[in-house]
Symmetry: C2
Subunit: 203 residues, 2 copies
C-alpha cells in the first residue's frame, strides 16, 4: 500500500481536479477516508462491451486501499480486473430549497476513486479484506461471526482499488440565492437528511 | 415517451437479466418507478477516454423518462449525449448480520437504467424536466419557487434517458445462515436503515 504524502494531501490529477464548482473540491486524505468510512455502498463503474455498467456494492477501506467483494463469478468484478474502474460513494446530508428553482440543490459529501482493479489472490489479504467489509457493516462484527471457511473464500472474489487517485466533493450550508430574489415569497432553507439505524430485529 | 407494455412489465434484456441472485430481480415498471421516485441521487456512469466515470446527480422521473441536469458545460452530461449511459439508484434499507461472516449482507432496493443519452433541446420539455427535478427534491416546490429565467435555462443542460431498459434488484428480510451455524454464539438479525428528514433550517 502506498504511503501517504507527508502533508496528507493527494494532489489533484487531470481526472480528479474539479472543473465544476472547484470550491467544493477536497483533496485531503482525512476527508476522503472519513466519507468512505461513513458510507456503506459504493457505486462501481466498469466498461462492458455494450457500454458503462454501474452497480452498488458493499466495500471497506483499509489504509489507502478500497476493497470490493462479490461472488467468484461476479461479472462486474471480473471485468474490473486490470481494467479502469471508477467507484463513487455519496452521503446525502440535506435538501437545499432556494427561493429560485435554479438554486435548488442537495447537500452531500462524495468521493470518486479512479483506479485499476487488482484481484486479491493472497489468502491473508483476502481474509483481511473480507473481515474489513464485515466490520464496515457493523464494527467488531468479524470477531463474533463465524469466519469464512476455505470453500467460502474460494467462492468469494475480492478486488482492490488504490486510493491514490481519489477526491472528495462536498456541499453544505444554506441555499445561495441571487440578491434580486431576496423578497420572493417562498420559504428557503435546508432540510437535513440523516441515515438512521433503527431498532435491531433479531432473526 | 414510450407507452408501457400493457402488462406493465419490461421484459429483461441481455443486460438487465440478472445473472447473480436472479430471485432478487424485479422487472415490473411499478417497482422500478417507486424506487426511482423515492431516491434522490442517481450514480451516472459514462465512458471517458480514460475509462469509466461515475458521478452522483440529482434527477427526476416523468412517466418513462429519467431526467438528469447540470450546468451547460457539464463534462459528464456532454459525454453522455448520444452515448451509452448507465444510471443507478440505490436505497439502503438495512444491515443484515448473519452468524457467519459469509452471509452478512445489506437490505436494499436498486434500479439500474441502461440507455442512450438524449439532450433535451425543446424549451417546453426543458422547463418540464427542471420543474420535475425541483419537485423531486420537495413536492410542489416548483410552483412556489421563482421559475427559471431564459438565461438560467440556457446555462442548464438536461439529459433524458428512456426507462425501457431498466430493472430493479432488491434484498429484504432476515439473514439466511447455513443450518450448521444455527448454534454459533453471535446475535443475528437486521438493523433497519431509514433516511430521515430533520427539522427544516430557515435560511
Amino acid at each position: 500500500m502506498t504511503a501517504p504524502p507527508s502533508d496528507g494531501e493527494s494532489p489533484p490529477t487531470g481526472r480528479t481536479r474539479l472543473r465544476r464548482h472547484p470550491e467544493r473540491g477536497v483533496y485531503d486524505q482525512a476527508t476522503v477516508h472519513a466519507i468512505l468510512d461513513e458510507g456503506l455502498v459504493a457505486h462501481v463503474g466498469i466498461l462492458s462491451d455494450q457500454g458503462p455498467v454501474v452497480l452498488p456494492m458493499a466495500y471497506a477501506r483499509v489504509a489507502s486501499t478500497l476493497y470490493l467483494h462479490g461472488a467468484a463469478g461476479n461479472a462486474l468484478l471480473r471485468a474490473a480486473e486490470d481494467a479502469p474502474v471508477c467507484a463513487t460513494v455519496t452521503l446525502l446530508d440535506g435538501l437545499v430549497l432556494a427561493r429560485s428553482a435554479f438554486h435548488h440543490s442537495l447537500n452531500y459529501r462524495s468521493v470518486v476513486v479512479y483506479g485499476t482493479g487488482r484481484r486479491v489472490g493472497d489468502e491473508d489479504e483476502h481474509r483481511l479484506a473480507l473481515a474489513a467489509i464485515v466490520d464496515h457493516v457493523a464494527a467488531g462484527r468479524s470477531a463474533e461471526a463465524r469466519p469464512p471457511s476455505a470453500s467460502e473464500l474460494r467462492s468469494t472474489r475480492v478486488l482492490a482499488l488504490d486510493l491514490a487517485e481519489a477526491s472528495a466533493k462536498t456541499r453544505s450550508g444554506p441555499p445561495v440565492d441571487d440578491e434580486a430574489d431576496a423578497t420572493w415569497p417562498a420559504w428557503s432553507g435546508t432540510i437535513p437528511l440523516t441515515l438512521v439505524r433503527g431498532t435491531p430485529v433479531e432473526a
